[in-house]
């Protein structure tokens, strides 16, 4: 249309890194037990998965150090439970506020330690963590309303083991309802991402929480196992289904209460009458958010056959524009894989997908030499029997399958050992609700995906676990109903 032609430019975004000096990291951290920082017997380095450089030394707690933390929580339990509920609520508020005050610091550390894009840690992880404390703080003196007027008592001491994909957010999901209900807690963060939980411990210290109410012991799986077997009244675990089963076995026959939030192979279902461009955004968000390290990731994409070609073409075009790289760059969409072990698992499952005959497409993007990286990938021609359609990959890999009728979509979606979440994309409200009603998944998103809110319950069916977190339902696991 112009009368003069000007050469088209290539316009690249210049690097826009969040300043790393926002992170006030120390070189070494102790265990937080009974309100004191206690030097551990053994320390290990935690590394930046984007560079493989060590960030800090943290404790690798032994069974006796875990027991000491549980003892501190036990000692603090009667006083904390006896506190007027309104006063307990105030303490929880006092954790929420500094989380926001220090949000930049926390977001940078979360991205450094876990590899997730700063865009996500800044816009999702940290604000949502604070929102959980704010929300549950308000419940502290209104518990009888949430519990239908029944009498109740706190569980006592709770052992909480959290995963590496949303370290600070999972700590908030666990601690906020536990504290609001009058329990004391021992929190064991994941081995590869201990740092923000330690910063949260500092925040608890600054909030002058009574000593022993919150204890943080860093360590590996052995420390988690020690916590499960320690003198706790309840265990809350978020992580893999394999470990969840071990914990369930360990606690079988005891009166220790248990909630498990485990793996998933969630179906994201796109009907032919959906708003396709927005559905594609939901597919991208569903599987590439946090490199696919999301228990409810929409890793099985079920598309109605009549629109499959359009959806796949648009999805692929959109994937090719994903910006993979430095997690601290504000324009990065997909960051680093959390650990060498996880990268190996993703790589081997993807290899199995190709071997079994599915068509693999990975975007061609420059990946850094150091660190752990995997390009966003989709698989076409996936059969329901393929391992990539059955097993949780926990990485940026989506398996595309088609269906012909709503009935078939529902059957396919439910045909899984898991049942954590699902997405339904349709412009037909009646269809959205009728399909959602039949899906055996703890969360069903309609025309959106990976949307979290502290007032909404989250949890699974089948091998995705039991118990709910979030909202009034998330209070139940932390009380004992006495009448």
């Amino acid at each position: 249309m112009a009368t003069v032609t000007r050469a088209a430019l290539q316009w690249d975004y210049a690097p826009a890194p969040e300043a790393r000096d926002a992170a006030s990291l120390r070189s070494s951290y102790d265990l937080f037990i009974g309100g004191e920082w206690v030097a551990p017997a053994r320390r290990v380095a935690t590394i930046n998965p984007a560079t493989e450089e060590p960030l800090a030394e943290v404790g690798s707690a032994s069974a006796s150090e875990v027991a000491a933390a549980v003892a501190a929580a036990r000692a603090a339990a009667p006083g904390w439970a006896a506190l007027a509920p309104l006063e307990r609520g105030k303490y929880v508020f006092r954790i929420a506020r500094p989380l926001l005050d220090q949000s930049r610091d926390l977001a940078v550390v979360e991205s450094l330690d876990g590899g997730k894009p700063i865009r996500e840690s800044r816009d999702v992880d940290v604000p949502l963590a604070a929102a959980h404390f704010f929300s549950y703080a308000g419940w502290a003196d209104k518990l009888s309303y949430a519990l239908g007027g029944r009498s109740f008592a706190p569980r006592g001491v709770v052992g909480q083991i959290i995963p590496w994909n949303f370290p600070l957010l999972m700590a908030a999901w666990k601690l906020a309802p536990a504290l609001a209900c009058g329990n004391t807690a021992v929190l064991k963060p994941a081995e590869t991402t201990p740092l923000t939980a330690l910063l949260l411990a500092s925040i608890c210290e600054e909030a002058e929480l009574p000593p022993g109410v919150v204890n943080v012991v860093t360590g590996d799986g052995a420390a988690g196992a020690a916590l499960v077997r320690a003198e706790v009244d309840k265990v809350a675990f978020t992580g893999s289904t394999a470990v969840g089963k071990e914990i369930a076995c360990a606690l079988a026959g005891t009166d220790v209460a248990l909630t498990l939030e485990l793996g998933g192979k969630s179906a994201n279902i796109v009907f032919e009458d959906a708003a396709i461009d927005q559905a594609v955004e939901g597919i991208v968000d569903g599987i590439f958010f946090n490199q696919g390290h999301v228990c409810c990731a929409g890793s099985r994409l079920l598309v109605q056959e009549s629109v499959a070609e359009e959806v796949v073409r648009k999805l692929w075009a959109r994937m090719e524009r994903l910006r993979v790289g430095d997690p601290l760059d504000k324009n990065t969409d997909v960051g680093a894989i959390n650990s060498a072990a996880q990268l190996e698992r993703i790589t081997s499952l993807v290899a199995a997908g190709s071997r079994e005959g599915a068509e693999r497409r990975s975007i061609s993007c420059a990946l850094p030499d150091a660190g752990y990286w995997f390009p966003p990938t989709l698989f076409l021609d996936v059969a329901p029997a393929h391992r990539i359609a059955v097993e949780e990959i926990f990485g940026p890999v989506v398996s595309v399958m088609t269906f012909r009728t709503p009935r078939e979509a529902i059957e396919r979606a439910n045909n899984s050992a898991y049942g954590l979440a699902a997405g339904v994309w349709t412009n037909n409200g009646a269809q959205a609700f009728s399909v959602a009603r039949e899906l055996r998944a703890g969360v069903v998103w309609q025309n959106t995906y990976n949307r979290f809110d502290p007032t909404a319950a989250f949890g699974g069916y089948k091998e995705s676990g039991f118990g709910r977190e979030g909202g009034p339902a998330g209070l139940l696991p932390y009380v004992r109903l006495t009448v």
Binding site: D12, D273, A275, Q278, A279
Partner: protein, 292 residues
Amino acid sequence: MSRVLTPVNRVGVDERAAALGRRSIKTTAKRQGIRLAASMIDLTTLEGADTPGKVRNLCAKAVAPGLGLAPVAAVCVYPALVGVAVEAVTGTGVAVASVATGFPSGQTSLDVKVLETREAVAAGAAEIDMVISRDAYLAGDDARVAREISAVKEACGDAHLKVILETAELPTYAHVRHAAELAIAAGADVIKTSTGKAASGATPGVVLVMLEVVRDHLWRTGRVVGVKAAGGVSTTKAALGLLVLVKETLGDEWLTPSRFRIGASSLLNDLLLQYAKLDGGHYGRAEDFSKE
């Protein structure tokens, strides 16, 4: 025949547009983006008080914006002032665009619209910015809307036709999508958001939906249709935001004035202010740059 709308999810569109609005454009990307945005401007004056003198000043600014920036893509004026503008920009590479068809409301007969278009083209306009008849569109008379676009397109001859949807007056994003498809099918070379005279203009969501229509049309037919964002784009941040939308919806090859335009009057001076700041490290004063 009743109209069939392709579903568009408002919440999803606005979220995607907002997410792209958070892209961080700094240093070299900002410098290059400002140059690019300036080159895509249809520098516009559309006031009752426009005079030959005012238009000549505008043209001088269009040809040499200052700070070594390349000329803008076009000047955009009322039909009566096309001759003045043509005389002022001939040989400079800046095109002359004229609004036509009873701009901005379009509430006049098709004969008058066609005549106005012919006169503007005869006076030397290389581009015509027409408005769709919102009265017909809102009443469901898609056939009339299409007929008028086709007639004006024919009257354009070799001139390029930009069809203004006036999205602020359309009910939903699904209607924006539908009206855009209708305009393209009827012969639009470019689809344009707004007149600049309505309550809102080129919001990121509206531009995103129109870019998606153009992408889908390209994929389906291989034909390139341009997009012009106009109305309310007055800051560097807003303009760079539009470039991000284009880049991430259609790709770098669309970052050219032959495929994407920004209709604006005051944007150019903000681009100059920001551009000068990149060099000097501090903001200048608005008075440092000529208003027109």
